[in-house]
Amino acid sequence: MRIYNPLGFLKNIDYFLFVPIIVLIFWGVLNIYSASINEYPNIYIKQGIFGILGILLMVFLSAIDLRKIVNFSIILYVIGIFSLIFVLVAGDVILGAKRWINLGFVSLQPSEFMKVIVILVIAYYLSDKKSPISIFDAIVIFFIAFIPAILTILQPDLGTAITILFPAVFIIFIYGIKKRYIITALIVVLALAPYLWNHLKDYQKNRILAFLNPEKDPLGTAYHIIQSKIAIGSGQITGKGFLKGTQSKLYFLPEQHTDFIFSVIGEEWGFLVSILVLTIYLFLVGRIFYWGLQIKDNTAKVVCFGAASILSFQAFINISMTLGLAPVVGITLPFLSYGGSSLLTFSLLIGTVLSAVSTYKKEKIQF
């Protein structure tokens, strides 16, 4: 006999995934407080509110059947595309780029949400396809991601555009497209590279050049990379202590509460905690990847692989950037960087994964 239990879904939540993420969110608020208290004294509260919203969103999604979410994603995709067009026409300009829609009480960045929506639409499309997929399917999947990516590049926001494309490419790769197509694609990309380079904006070129050769222009773009390395290195093994980072408190770090939050952590908490953060991300990615392999349902698989690819991509590229191992591209550190859109996007992503997991658990038990 089954008794209906309204909170029964809670026991199906994967706490190995959920608990570390709650820890990351609140620990992120703490570090945003440290990074921004001198310049913007209130934003950590905002981040805290978004954090709670994100947790509620994840709990909510985990209670919903994955198929319902995926079916709904087509509508979200259409809304998303229109939002991106709207942003280009009438968006708020911040830091020279049109990325935000101002809703009065809060500004949202539709391109952020598009990362998750694209994965969901791909999951929907692949739900009844067998691996390996055909070249036609691969092209369809690519275009699902390519349209919002192009609209995002026009903002211009190269980093987010690449993040939108990345899961699609990853899914095509892992779903077993033939090797010769991969090789062909690589050749095409290499052939187009000079053309793409010419179409990059000057500041984007500068960032890449500065990354390749930081000593050439120590006071320009590379200044940020150098200051970030100084911040992290000077943290040594145990860090300078909470609120005691000089690099962040005295503004030597650029965008320290958003893209460079890891530098603040490295400076104030030191090597041991930095390694712990890095390991948490590896663990989360591994856990999601594990579910992708474990669950037999195709839709859930795509959601898990897509989520794992985005999470690993953003976390490792962002950390590489602060360590001077990658060029400065505007990619946030999941759950730790300041920003409501980024936080809600990743909550949405993990919520969907939690939904996939609990749906799978339920079905495995009940059927």
């Binding site: 000077s234 690099q247 005295l250 090597f271 390694i275 890095l278």
Partner: protein, 602 residues
């Protein structure tokens, strides 16, 4: 789902994780100390606080030079470079502070140099107020207090004595650990000689600054110690008299030194022409500077201390005293001294073609008889002449702070070493009348006359009368230091003294112009030949080029009975000691009486 692709992904993730962990280990553990140091340098700035230099007074407490604070706008170009577009900051400086930037400063901003640059000096109160009101517009700029030297009106009579200040040169910094690049240091004159008294020690302020160069917090501060105030032996009134007396002579170039022969305290030290000392703090235009350094009378050069010139007949004082002490001649012995002195085939003329007749040493000094001194000089010999010259203190730094150039006293060894030639009798003969290779500083001329005035004592020359000790809060007087005595028969000094008296009061004296002076004095003229060539044009003297004319000297002491003042006047290419140099001394004495510096003889 291809298994090998999943393995590929797992391997790739592991590699990335290991790479990032390794990078963290490298930055934070292996190079942690290095980056910790850099981060400290990033936010910690050590500012030097310039100490005010000590004030300079004359012997009677007349203020000559002191410091006032001025304000400079200083920038850290790399911060400006990172925060502003080029035209943005140029416009902000122009609109709010009215400052136009030079091309060098604009270039510094464009290139983003690390070291600070001075953007504007001597800011007005209004500019300072505007700067602080609009502080947020000027990231990377701050205002620095810079002490500047200010001079009183008496300073213009003694720029060479006071000297100027500036920032230390690279070699000064290397040689003196107490100097700092942004603390002013004496470059010449008293400012340099007594820099260790005047300089004080700088203060420091350690400040935490943010990435925009804004001061966030003062960590610690050490106040600067002001320099010691000093009182010179110079009498500003007498210095002014010396300056004006020389100027009135119409001569373009020369030097006047006045000391107290009883102590060797320097009362006046003039090098003429002078220069405008205030220009060194206010700044020269390139045109003014070029005019100054190309002026043929060399205004910047301190001729009194560092110029070397043949002394001519004033040197006969030393030769005469040496000859008496060594018994070459006795006080009343008469020597036939004609128009020409011959030795072998060589002829040595007397300045006066009429000759001198049979004369004793007093008369020889009176009429400055060359042929007399040729004979006693030759008999005394070069070694003994050189011995007495050194005995008087010529060619010796009696006070190392003041004298940095020594006179050239030739000797057979010197000639062999420098010219690789033997010493001839002719050289001794020339030396006997202060010609030939001999060249002395005008300051050494004072060393010739002073021992005659004081009865044979050599003191350490002093420019410093007293200094104020800030620690003990009291004035320290500098006492005269007796270096040595001539140790010659006092009677012989009296004989020389009598001879010098006759230079003025004798029938054939060469400086009879001083008879009219209100104070009785005794002295010796000197007219030193510079070039032989002009002799040919003797009839057309007017046309002799300035550079070829004879140097004119006069050394003197007064009052005759109880000498308080010894004077040396040098007129570069002045042609005649008696006609040109001596009248300057006369005017000095006259004006000194008017000013009450010396009492008139009744």
């Amino acid at each position: 789902m291809k298994k090998n692709r999943i393995i590929f992904v797992i391997v790739l993730l592991s590699i990335v994780y290991i790479a990032l962990a390794g990078r963290l280990y490298y930055l934070q553990v292996l190079k942690g100390d290095y980056y910790r140091e850099i981060s400290t340098k990033n936010y910690l700035r050590l500012y030097t606080i310039n100490p005010p230099r000590g004030k300079i007074f004359d012997r009677n407490g007349i203020l000559l030079a002191y410091d006032v604070p001025t304000f400079s706008l200083v920038a850290l170009p790399y911060i400006v470079h990172n925060n502003y577009k080029k035209n943005q900051i140029i416009k902000a400086l122009k609109d709010y502070l009215g400052i136009d930037l030079s091309p060098e400063i604009i270039e510094a901003f464009e290139k983003g140099y690390i070291t600070k640059i001075v953007v504007a000096e001597n800011l007005t109160d209004k500019q300072i107020e505007k700067f602080y009101n609009k502080f947020y517009l000027f990231k990377g700029f701050y205002i620095e207090v810079v002490p500047k030297r200010v001079y009183t009106e008496y300073a213009k009579y003694m720029p060479h004595v006071l000297g100027y200040v500036g920032y230390p040169s690279y070699s000064q910094l290397k040689n003196n650990p107490y100097l700092r690049p942004d603390v002013l240091v004496g470059k010449s004159g008293i400012e340099k000689m007594y820099d260790d008294f005047l300089r004080g020690s700088p203060g420091y302020r350690a400040v935490i600054v943010d990435a925009y160069g804004r001061q966030k917090e003062v960590l610690w501060e050490k106040q600067p110690k002001r320099g010691k105030d000093i009182y010179l032996t110079i009498d500003a009134r007498l210095q002014k008299i010396a300056y004006e007396s020389f100027k009135d002579s119409g001569q373009p170039s020369g030097a006047v030194i006045i000391v107290n022969p009883q102590t060797y305290q320097i009362l006046a030290l003039l090098s003429y022409p002078t220069y405008d000392i205030e220009k060194f703090t206010k700044g020269f235009t390139p045109k003014e500077w070029k005019k100054l350094i190309t002026n043929k009378y060399k205004p910047l050069f301190n001729k009194a201390l560092y110029g070397l010139y043949p002394p001519g007949s004033i040197y006969k004082i030393i030769v005469g005293l040496g000859a008496l002490e060594e018994g070459v001649i006795s006080p009343y012995e008469r020597v036939e001294s004609g128009a020409v002195f011959k030795i072998g085939k060589w002829k040595y003329r007397n300045w006066n073609p009429a000759g001198c007749g049979k004369i004793n040493i007093e008369e020889a000094l009176e009429m400055s008889c060359d042929t007399f001194f040729y004979q006693i000089g030759l008999e005394l010999g070069v070694d003994r002449i050189v011995y007495y010259t050194h005995l008087f203190g010529l060619g010796e730094k009696l006070n190392k702070r003041i004298e940095r150039k020594v006179s050239r006293i030739p000797s057979p060894d010197w000639k062999m070493e420098v010219l690789n030639e033997n010493w001839f009798h002719g050289d001794t003969i020339n030396l006997s009348i202060g010609q030939g290779y001999l060249a002395i500083t005008p300051f050494d001329a004072i060393k010739i006359i002073s021992p005659i005035a004081n009865g044979g004592k050599i003191y350490k020359p002093e420019l410093l009368k007293a200094y104020f000790d800030n620690k003990e809060n009291k004035l320290h007087q500098i006492k005269p230091v007796l270096v040595r005595e001539l140790n010659v028969n006092p009677f012989y000094i009296k004989v020389i003294k009598k001879g010098l008296y006759k230079v003025i009061y004798g029938k054939k004296g060469t400086a009879k112009v001083l008879r009219d002076a209100p104070v009785k004095s005794a002295g010796k003229t000197g007219t030193a030949q510079v070039s032989r060539k002009k002799k040919k044009d003797k009839n057309k003297k007017e046309e002799v080029k300035w550079e070829l004319r004879d140097h004119a000297w006069f050394v003197d002491f007064y009052p005759y009975k109880n000498p308080k003042f010894a004077v040396a006047v040098f007129v570069e290419h002045g042609e005649s000691g008696g006609r040109v140099a001596a009248p300057i001394v006369k005017e000095i004495i006259e004006n000194s009486v008017i000013e009450g510096i010396v009492d008139e003889d009744l």
